[in-house]
């Protein structure tokens, strides 16, 4: 009896891995990095995370969690509330719907897919925030931030894949 209870607890804790990793990404985003002019073009790492889990383990990071993560991200970062939830949900939905296509493809294809979807997500983010503030915001910083995000995807994906192999192999 104890055995199965511990087993189930073990599985439940392993299932928390995606959400904990996402929260770690948020915190990493927020730490002051003290690199000149880096902050304005810093990548939106959670996008990479959401795409990765949407393709490989959508059962562990569902729509509700993604929505809550978006709300937490907006509250922590100071961006207008609701914007990140909308684009995270959009990316999650897109990633999940194309999951069967991407699942067995080589890494480059997955990366390309992320570049396209992240472009749509960040374009929408620019549009929503501009609408909320009532004027067209500068696009240079956002464009560079997009390039940084797609460059960061391989790193994030490698890190998540290692952890997934170690911790979630049989869970």
């Amino acid at each position: 009896m104890m055995g199965t209870l511990l087993q189930r607890l073990d599985v439940k804790i392993r299932h928390l891995l995606p959400i904990s990793l996402m929260i770690l990404l948020f915190l990493f985003d927020a730490i002051p990095k003290r690199l000149p002019y880096f902050t304005e073009i810093s990548p939106i790492l959670p996008l990479a995370g959401i795409y990765y889990w949407a393709i490989f383990r959508p059962d562990l990071l569902g729509a509700k969690s993604v929505f809550l993560l978006g709300v937490a991200y907006d509250l922590a970062m100071g961006t207008p509330l609701g914007v990140s939830s909308a684009i995270f949900l959009g990316l999650h939905g897109l990633g999940q719907s194309q999951r069967r296509f991407f699942y067995r493809k080589p890494f480059l294809m997955i990366w390309l897919g992320f570049s396209l979807m992240a472009f749509v997500a960040m374009l929408l983010q620019w549009a929503f925030i501009s609408l909320i503030y009532g004027r067209a915001l500068p696009t240079e910083a956002a464009a560079f931030s997009y390039l940084m995000t797609i460059s960061a995807y391989p790193v994030v994906s490698w890190f998540f894949a290692r952890l997934q192999l170690v911790l979630l192999k049989n869970a």
Binding site: A30, K33, T79, G82
Partner: protein, 289 residues
């Protein structure tokens, strides 16, 4: 447990529909949050403050190793440029000694003049020095999280300076943490003064790294190279704090380069000027201490 195939099929379609329904509701909820956040700023502010009160201590602990690493890097860099830096500092020291003598003379003169005119001087500000624990990355957010909050005496609207230069103003205050709005943020409106011509203006950020000057008084002509300081209007900010330099006048729009660069900020001093300024009056006086 054998299930009828038709029933299983119906179950999966129902599940799919329920899933789609959840996603649709969540998307609608996101848009609702966008509208709500725009309409009711008090609630989103308290939510943000609650989150920052939780994350600030964590970020504080996390950024210790990062700042140690940054210190190491700057130490190595400093060693490399030691000789040149030494020469430069000696020269600067000479000119500063000269300024010090002049300042002493001016201070005496000032005191005498104040006494003659029965001048009522501004109250002495008190300071709260705190560490920057969060630099919110992103193209749209120009704010920072600091490790001091209401329990340290920080209040909304206070000025944040570093080494004599203005960084921004306190926009949200929690129990343990506060959020500082930088000058370059789109929500930042700062009453300023041209140091030489004494013309008043408002420095408005637009999320670029050079905020612009608007509502320049007396239609004064603004030249590049002119220093910009705070005017102290509204009462909450100390007057005369250096803000930046006018760098370009293009199409009638003057742009200011702030003295302070975001990536160099590690410690920030929040100035408690004593007067609550117009913000407190605006809020009806019935809000936070």
């Amino acid at each position: 447990m054998k299930q009828h195939p038709v029933a299983v099929g119906r179950l999966t379609t129902l599940k799919l529909l329920a899933q789609r329904f959840t996603v649709a509701t969540l998307v609608v909820a996101s848009f609702a949050l966008m509208l709500w956040g725009k309409a009711d700023t008090m609630l989103s502010e308290s939510a943000r403050v609650a989150v920052s009160d939780v994350t600030a201590p964590i970020l504080n602990a996390m950024s210790q190793p990062a700042s140690t690493a940054a210190d190491l890097v700057s130490e190595v860099r400093e060693l490399a440029t030691l000789r040149g830096e030494n020469a430069r500092l000696s020269a600067e020291n000479q000119s500063l000694l000269h300024w010090q003598t002049m300042a002493r003379q001016l201070e005496v003169e000032n005191r005498l003049l104040k006494a003659q005119m029965n001048y009522v001087s501004d109250p002495d500000p008190s300071f709260i020095t705190t560490r920057v624990v969060g630099d919110m990355g992103g193209a749209y957010v120009h704010s920072m999280l600091v490790n001091a909050g209401a329990r340290d005496g920080v209040r909304k609207g206070q000025a944040a300076v570093t080494g004599e230069m203005l960084v921004g103003r306190v926009m949200e205050v929690g129990e343990r943490s506060a959020r500082i709005l930088l000058l370059t943020d789109i929500n930042s409106h700062l009453p300023v003064l041209m140091e030489n011509s004494r013309a008043k203006a408002i420095l408005i950020g637009d999320n670029s790294d050079r905020p612009r000057l608007s509502y320049i008084s007396q239609n004064a002509v603004v030249e590049p190279g002119e220093r910009v300081v705070t005017s102290g209007h509204g009462g909450a900010f100390p007057p005369g704090v250096p803000v930046g330099v006018v760098v370009s006048v293009h199409d009638g729009v003057a742009r200011v380069e702030p003295f302070v660069h975001r990536h160099r900020l590690e410690y920030v001093t929040i100035v408690d000027y004593g007067l609550a300024g117009i913000l407190q009056a605006e809020l009806g006086g019935g809000t936070t201490r």
